[in-house]
Assembly symmetry: C2
Homo-oligomer: 357 residues x 2
């Protein structure tokens, strides 16, 4: 089953069921208006949505209409929890090398995970609004799961049973703000603005055998300014599977339905070729590309995103069809969007001057 | 105006208006069922709630009933965002000294703030459920604000205008899990279980002149196992005011209505007396007490909370009345509550064994 949330002027939008090929949609109004309602009461509400889904796929849904991804908000436009892991250790290793930091000792057994902002999750075509290019705007292509209720202390195999939906995510990162926040140790408040979501979320059965052992065994395509830069395999190098990430998050507290747990940037290990390491699958974030350049050539040559840059992220299934639809975002300056003037009116990166008492 | 959320078996409960003296309540059903709805549409909905509030205080509300704090969930049982600052630098300094860590250089100008879990906020009498006393259960008495929408890049004085409600919070901390998470730099996922809230939230005007310059100028009373251990002044040593904390959070992203921003543990500076420093107002968390003992006597002698321990947190107004009602929680083992057996069935603190792939 595939689900999306259509804009309707409200903060939470309207739940729609979307056909497998993403061509048709159907309002779920008589079952639930919002995806969170379905997650709150999954066993009771999801069968009725599944019925609509079957009718849509068979061309028998009576009030179907053409699906338009441009009308989509994030499937959960605001969520009660967004926890993002770093399950691809290769990503962690590359990015740490790039900033001269060591790999944490516990990395093999204890997942890195941060609590992200979930009050403002962005739709697939939302602009990446940013006050300054100097913040180092980067994309991060990730997969995520949305869970049901998870009890405290849940084991990782049982945690997998709590997976209700899969999602494709752009965990936008302001790379140049990361080092200061890492040094503070309190996680990312400034360096992780609104995370964006592909138009539809899907139940795991939609992936067939590509959903196995808690991982999505499909490549994630990243196209930056029209150029394909990444085609990383999401399954092979995912060190912690989603059940392990959920169990980690639930170690000291229960998780409530609608919790989103991310995989971290999808990343594949390098391959040794002619005395140097290469990454034939490319990259799912610019920080990795810069790390690769540093390792290969001694310094990075690729710059982070500029105003006007676009990023497109998509996952194709084994049948060639788009699983989640595509994320397609453009970086825009804050002033153009919200103020209609080019005059800078928010502080630049650096010491937070306006919070000095 | 004072508002609370009554249990009704649902995840979000029922919004009630509570009289100033906390003696009477009135369902807000015909205006809004849930507090989040009011925050989403504050200017439209809050005047009608204010009307009920006036009627309650004058004894003229037609369907009033005695207010019972034991029926309360957290005012927002689940929220879209919970950001907790560390505005009392004395707390940061004391706790860091206790674990031998330095004060970050930027502490005076750049607030420490972490993104907390908001999917499961606890009511005022909720048990603090914990799998092991060895995790080092601690209370942290704090004040918090709940905001309306805040634009990205908002200045701190304008950010103050976004404050809709004030709250009293117990930011429960598993103290012995903190150092490992701090070292990872990704913030607190395991060491901060469900945060608890006093029964009612109040509009700032309820505090009269005690709400000034973005701070609550009242003492916060902490009673641990029936013994008063803290009476710290919340106003005097709050280095960053709430407007500054909100502006910090909104530096690179907008904040949506219902965002909760915490002050961090309320703490007062020490006073030099007879060649040693003393803290006459006591403490709002055990970590501070242990830090004080370390500074005074070379080592801590007070242990963290044990199963069966209770903590009571309350703020009295200048008229002597309880502003928010009291938080009153007991620490209980996970097994007793959820499994009815004493057999340990969740992993102890330490390396996360069950997440090894």
């Amino acid at each position: 089953m595939k689900l999306a949330t259509y804009q309707d002027g409200s903060r939470d939008g309207q739940l729609v069921v979307v056909s497998r090929d993403l061509s048709q949609a159907h309002y779920a109004t008589h079952i639930a208006n919002r995806l969170q309602q379905v997650l709150d009461d999954w066993n009771y509400l999801s069968p009725a949505l599944q019925d609509i889904y079957h009718q849509l796929n068979q061309g028998r849904a009576r009030h179907a209409f053409p699906f338009d991804p441009a009308q989509c908000m994030a499937p959960l436009p605001r969520a009660y929890q967004w926890l993002d892991g770093s399950a691809y250790l290769n990503h962690v290793e590359l990015v740490r090398q790039a900033r001269g930091a060591d790999m944490p000792e516990s990395a093999q057994t204890d997942p890195l995970m941060y609590q992200g902002g979930s009050d403002d999750l962005a739709g697939p075509h939302a602009e990446i609004v940013c006050a300054s290019e100097s913040w180092g705007v980067d994309f991060e292509a990730e997969l995520a799961v949305i869970t049901g209720d998870v009890p405290m202390g849940c084991a990782s195999d049982r945690a997998l049973d709590a997976v209700r939906l899969l999602a494709l995510v752009n965990d936008v990162t302001l790379r140049n703000l990361v080092p200061d926040e890492l040094a503070k140790g309190f996680g990312f408040v400034k360096s992780k603005p609104a995370t964006a979501f592909a138009p539809v979320v899907v139940t795991p059965d939609e992936l067939g055998e590509a959903w196995a052992r808690g991982r999505v065994h499909l490549p994630v395509q990243c196209v930056w300014n029209g150029r394909k830069v990444g085609m990383c395999e999401a399954g092979s190098d995912m060190h912690f599977h989603f059940g392990q990430l959920i169990a980690h998050a639930a170690k000291t507290r229960r998780l409530r339905a609608g919790t989103i747990v991310g995989s971290g940037t999808v990343s594949n290990k390098g391959v040794a070729r002619k005395n140097r390491t290469e990454w034939p699958h490319g990259y799912s974030c610019i920080a990795e590309k810069r790390a690769m350049e540093t390792l290969q050539d001694g310094q990075p040559s690729t710059e982070y995103m500029k105003f006007g840059d676009t990023i497109r992220i998509e996952v194709k299934g084994r049948d060639g069809g788009s699983v989640f639809g595509a994320i397609h975002q453009e970086v825009v300056p804050l002033d153009v969007r919200s103020r209609g003037t080019a005059a800078p009116s928010v502080p630049e990166a650096g010491p937070a001057q306006d919070v000095t008492p």
